[in-house]
Symmetry: C2
Subunit: 401 residues, 2 copies
């Protein structure tokens, strides 16, 4: 084959990206966060844990201890470090949910858990249900799997359970994805009655539940609530993570699988990255056994509790009259709504001009967005900086006076 | 909805696994390796690097050094640690292939690179070409992506380049996957002329090349060969890894991407696991800068060279008359063929009875298998143990006398 110019190469165009990749977009929040990185900005936009609360000395000691045998640098089983799985299983069991080490597959952060479950359970075109709004990176993963995502709306701070039932009947979803405790982005928690009804709906309509629990241990008030698995043990796959309770840089999470899904998830894990970092898993297992994790987590809880209170204390003066927001018992986020006809994305420009930032709620919606909504993270600043940031926000939004 | 027994739940069956997951199988080699784990077995079946050659002290020192700042435990950019990317780019450039840090995306092992490129480039039903036989875990990843895999045969130890051209014309593949240097499972290497022709075929027929190079730096004889990217810079995506040259437990690899694919691969990486372990990347970057990596790699090369020679020296007596095998210039594997009518899978039972093991070649074929072929790994034993293992193999296969 020869082109008019006489060269023989570069005649055919290269194949393009896949259709499923074309359906996924880079995170708009990520792009926006670039704007908030000026050091003078007080940013409530991030979703990061506070690095000054990481137990750096304890974690370094664990790495140092395990790095005396070469096997922590070798390939290791796809299912994960046996000691780590036993320790996580023990914590579930102590928490009221009987769990064996063999029920757990270690993942490279719980984000990978979402991908593995998508691989194991979804073919392109399959439908799934999500909370509306929903954790953004989950939406991205489901888009890459070619799934058709249907949002289940809220009525106030409560999931619309009739809509869940109706949408399940209409779409025959493969699963319902939920962050039941201190959700990202809303900070919302499904109460005991709602948990029971969600599980019953799953059993009646024949769909699975993917329960994502990164924030469960970050509770500052109120009573712990049982896993959805308690009410529908064969229907619920749970994701857990050390990212918010030890440190995210280790990228260690897990899937608590049901027996029928386990072999398929294991194959998906092998194909994804063979296994999670051997040394990070060994250090995490060592750290759990060291007993340093509980007091470190308690320090995190106490600090975040203060920070949440600082935010909730400052919001009445910071947001314009007619705004509303919730009061989460834990987690990292408060979800607020500006008064009618006020657009949170448009207002962000004004906030940034006053060196304060938040995330508009719109990108978190699978369907039509609530343009008045915004997410405020309270974890990364001390209370006085939170108050200062909220003062700036009040000025930016014209709330003062 | 109520069942005859009056209960309302468990009426509908749970949704099953995805079609793509059903198409993938657990690794048969993995299942077989379980049989070789008796301590008395000398196993040439594994594909592991030798753990006694890991630079444990150097790597521990790097972890200890970086674990003095909390940012190594925090979330980090999806593209990877900037210093690490710069150091890897510098090594490519020193090696003759101009590379910028921005060309590289760090992956959780090169296995993840295969998955990210599959996500970015493949929709279910798309065709790809692979070498026949092919790296097994790659076949698994492509199966999970729903790809239709077409094997390109060899003529002796040389890829059949006419078949490559013909199959490309017939199937319009999205890419050709190759391990060009010291391939797993065969130890084969594409020579300079073959590299040029593979690249020209890709340009003429309009397909990409995914070049997987985990063994490139494990050369014990002969001259280094250029990357396929040298001949078709816009068509070639390269995968690299520290697994065989530093340690696999860190799970650090990378994709050297072309500009058109980079944004899509970045989105796929975000969705896969947000980013690779921050602390492992920081420690690897520190280790590269420490200067300890080069002498450690040289120790590995010298040891593996001896082990390869021990294997090549022992094979004439170990394999039955009429067998053949190759003499790789590097890597970890020798590929052998038993005499006509001798089945390598059947013979393995006999080998195990004599406490020696290898991997039959059959599972590595995408299409009809060569039942006489087997893979022998020479990396994990000292020369005298290799000789002892080959003596046992000779007795098992009735080669003596």
């Amino acid at each position: 084959m020869t082109s008019p110019s006489g060269t023989t190469d570069r005649i055919l165009a290269l194949p393009g990206r896949s259709q499923r990749a074309a359906a996924a977009k880079t995170s708009p929040v990520r792009d926006l966060l670039a704007l908030t990185e000026r050091p003078e900005v007080i940013s409530f936009a991030g979703g990061l844990p506070a690095p000054e609360l990481f137990d750096l000395d304890g974690i370094r000691a664990s790495f140092d201890d395990v790095l005396h045998t070469p096997k922590v640098l070798q390939y290791s089983p796809s299912e994960g470090n046996p000691t780590l799985r036993e320790e996580v299983a023990r914590r579930y069991t102590d928490d009221g949910l009987d769990t064996a080490a063999s029920d757990l597959i270690v993942t490279t952060g719980s984000q990978q858990g979402l991908g593995l479950l998508s691989t194991a359970l979804l073919d392109p075109g399959d439908r799934i249900l999500v909370e509306e709004p929903c954790y953004l990176a989950a939406l991205q993963t489901f888009a890459l799997a070619g799934a058709r995502v249907v949002g289940v709306p809220y009525i106030g701070d409560e999931l619309d359970l009739d809509a869940l039932d109706r949408l399940a009947a209409e779409h025959s979803p493969k699963f319902f994805y939920t962050v039941p405790t201190f959700q990202n982005p809303t900070g919302r928690t499904h109460g005991l009655a709602a948990r029971r009804l969600i599980a019953e709906t799953a059993m009646r309509r024949g769909f699975r539940i993917v329960e994502d629990e990164p924030y469960r241990q970050l509770r500052y008030s109120g009573d712990p609530l049982p896993s959805l698995s308690t009410f529908a043990p064969e229907h619920v796959l749970s994701l857990g993570s050390f990212s918010k309770v030890i440190a995210p840089g280790l990228r260690i999470g897990w899937i608590r699988t049901t027996a029928d899904v386990r072999p398929t998830v294991t194959i998906a894990k092998q194909a994804a990255d063979l296994h999670t970092s051997t040394v990070d898993q060994a250090a995490a297992a060592h750290y759990l056994l060291s007993g340093r994790g509980e007091p470190a987590l308690e320090r995190i809880r106490v600090a975040y509790d203060d920070r949440r209170d600082a935010m909730l204390g400052g919001l009445p003066a910071a947001l314009p009259a007619g705004s509303s927001w919730n009061r989460p018992d834990g987690g990292m986020f408060v979800w607020a709504r500006l008064p009618e006809e006020m657009d949170a994305s448009a207002m962000l420009t004004r906030a940034l001009a006053h060196d304060v930032a938040y995330v508009p709620g719109a990108p978190f919606f699978a369907g039509p967005a609530d343009d008045r909504a915004l997410r405020l993270s309270f974890t990364t600043y001390a209370p006085d900086r939170i108050s200062e940031g909220l003062s700036r926000l009040g000025i930016a939004l014209g709330s003062a006076g």
